[in-house]
Amino acid sequence: MENFNINKDGFYGDFGGAFIPEMLQPNIDELQKNYLKITESTDFKKEFNKLLTDYVGRPTPLYFAKRLSNKYKTKIYLKREDLCHTGAHKINNTIGQIILAKKLGKKRIIAETGAGQHGVATATVCALMGIECVVYMGEIDISRQAPNVARMKMLGAKVRSATSGSRTLKDATNEAIRDWIANPIDTHYIIGSVVGPHPYPDMVARFQSVIGYETKKQLLEMEQTDKPTHVIACVGGGSNAAGLFYPFLNDLDVEIVCVEAAGKGVNSGESAATSILGTEGIIHGSKTLLMQTQDGQITEPYSISAGLDYPGIGPMHANLFKSNRGKFISIDDDDAMKWGLMLSQIEGIIPAIETSHAFAVLEKMDFNRDDIIIFNCSGRGDKDLDTYINYFKL
């Protein structure tokens, strides 16, 4: 049987691996050698699960969306990651990585952030553990995400402006990697998505897999089966999607749906639909699909949601695409915004704009009455209020 999980060399099919400069080799070696040993230990699991329960607020509900289900004549469930502490699934990963960093004896944490959600989640766990935290953020993102910059500062993190290149998420990631090259011994780099060199994609997917495993357990109680027909999530780098899909990757009865941001339209030149616009290459140490010129220069994506405008997707998702295991759909800004409003008014849940993209597939796909559809409601919309206000003239 085909395996859609990672292989022993750190690849998902053709994608993944660790294409890194020699300067990072010792750090990555250390992680590759230790991440499973540490994260599979009883000690680690105990601390991880306790914090997920007491601090993050897990398990998050699996909510049967009755009005939405009636409207689309099918069964729709929402996995409520928006109810996690700090407002999104991002903290599942940062809790895991901060415990790992402590066990590796690291004294300092660095992270990259685009919209600021991962930065806030990292600053939060660093405050929790009393560890120094530096977050790299593109100069442009700093100016357009002021509330999250303020949150990180309140939490005691230093926010450093990435002024190179396009001054957004990919450049913040480059700066974080350069910091790690300069501080290889005492520093751990908490990557925010299922991207980067092996073992990051697998490690982050494992920390996020709590989403999928909880879903199975909750569904069994509610529907007497732990198998949905569809699992649907938005994909930027792809961590919330990887977390929901994880237990279902090799269960071919479950259809996997990845929703990308089309921005102003796939052919508009302002888009983040990597599966359509991307080609195979290397970004941030991982072989995957990415948006680039013919000459191999990485280009800048666009989406109204800052969390989806990464020029690559994680190697797990690249493999889901290439093998046709996953169905990929792209949703433009207008549809996503419309669905942000729709979900607010039909279920009383204001989603993050990233999350809104996922729901828009309800009008792009046909579902049967007996289908059981799980949406990852990955984040809440508080951070996006300004965008919603400007868009809808509220």
């Binding site: 400069p21 020699e22 080799q25 010792p26 190179s164 290397i282 140490g285």
Partner: protein, 254 residues
Amino acid sequence: MNRINQVFKNSKDILSIYFTSGFPKLDDTLEIIKELDNSNVQMIEIGLPFSDPLADGPTIQKSSEIALKNGMTTDLLFKQLNGLRAITDIPVVIMGYFNPILQYGFEKFCRRCKNVGIDGLIVPDLPVEIYQKDYIKITEKFGLNMMFLITPQTSNERIYKIDKFSNGFIYMVSSYSVTGAKNSFDEYQIDYFKRINKMKLSNPLLIGFGIGNNNTYKTACKYSSGAIIGSAFIKHIKRNGVKSTKDFISEITE
């Protein structure tokens, strides 16, 4: 014998200069090579600019950005280099990140290198294991030398592996740092240079990163076959123009 192996056999205190192709002006490549050849440097590293140069500091980041804005491409570089062997006999290496080479096609890239007279490659984000598995046959087919980096943190076991698959020299990164010039080396760096020297590797060593004046060049020569300078040279030609290359080189080697 490849020009790189030759130069290590016949010279000491080797000075290798890195510059970003397409910077400061798009068509400066051959001009800079001519100037370097006239200044008696022993080796040249041509940088293929990349949008996301992970291992580089601000100077090379900026020069790469400008080169790309100027319109530099892989294909154009090879066109410019058609005149390479009419103007110089010293070894010339291309240093570039893996993604642009991969998009060009690794084999096609190597073939064109050979055709224009390039002697070897430095690809900082192509790990030796992947090179050994997928690419060594291609570089050997085209007679290109492959050079790898080591750092103060590279384990002895790994250094021996890198030595085995390097051909020409080992690029000894002087510190935990991205590229960029410094004024001097500290005692930890000196200890590291001594430690590597004691390993009796089969390839000669060149020290790079953080070298930009006579002091650091001399120290590097004391503990290795020579030095690689990039950022300091780029800063110099940005400020003083390509024509002032000779002044820079004589200040370094005085």
